[in-house]
Symmetry: C2
Subunit: 144 residues, 2 copies
């Protein structure tokens, strides 16, 4: 997760500004870093998770421009296919960086549409792999 | 400026999400890209601008996590020193990417403290150069 918590790593600008430094393990292989903005419709739980994807050539970081939660879904790889996905809801101020090659769900704001800063790879090569589950998973609200 | 305006460049996630693609000319030379979060106190106009800085080794992008305005200050270089600075206030949704070597003011939220996603360079070398004006500039509110 990408999160500015506790005390900042450094304080700059004559004490006016805290820097929470280098919060994500960015990795763009032979490509280069890019900054994009995603504007996404929201989903409501429970939702059917029939597909996950991964980017074999680079990491992909999502930082929400609002404090609304979004859904993070990730799954370990097992012989080239995703295992059982884990899912959770972010808290305000959290972003996420999916490392290169990590199976994950698509961007899923919860509750209302949202905008995100996205830092990912631009470059040659096919950087998208999708996996469709034979039997879809269902992501339900945490009922405690 | 970094801004998601008009129609997105591509639509992904089965039509649910628009991508405004590759909005900043990132440039990290021999270093690497990093994602940080800055939390900065605000300033109120008019303000005294006595110093600008530049990063000779990489670009630095600021994307606000709120819709509050911040002050952008930049100046052309003239024989190794900044010329007359230009200043303006952002509108909601705007970020900024200072290209490598461009003189600019430090992060200056207006009105209230604010958080920013910062994409800049991590690596060896001295990436900060500061210039103190003999006679400070004063940035005043635009009175139309």
């Amino acid at each position: 997760m990408i999160e500015a918590r506790g005390l900042p790593d450094t304080v700059v600008n004559r004490g006016r500004c805290g820097r929470y430094h280098d919060l994500a393990e960015l990795d763009f292989g032979g490509g280069r870093a890019s900054v994009s903005v995603f504007v996404s419709r929201c989903r409501i739980l429970p939702l059917t998770l029939d597909t996950v994807e991964r980017h074999p050539l680079g990491s992909q970081a999502f930082l929400p421009l609002s404090s609304d939660p979004f859904l993070v879904v990730a799954a370990r790889d097992s012989n080239g296919a995703p295992g059982r996905p884990a899912a959770f809801r972010t808290v305000p101020g959290q972003g996420v960086n999916y490392r290169r090659g990590v199976w994950h769900g698509v961007l899923t704001p919860l509750g209302r549409a949202a905008r995100f800063v996205v830092v990912d790879r631009v470059g040659e090569g096919d950087n998208l792999e999708e996996h469709r589950f034979d039997v879809p998973w269902v992501v339900r609200p945490d009922t405690g």
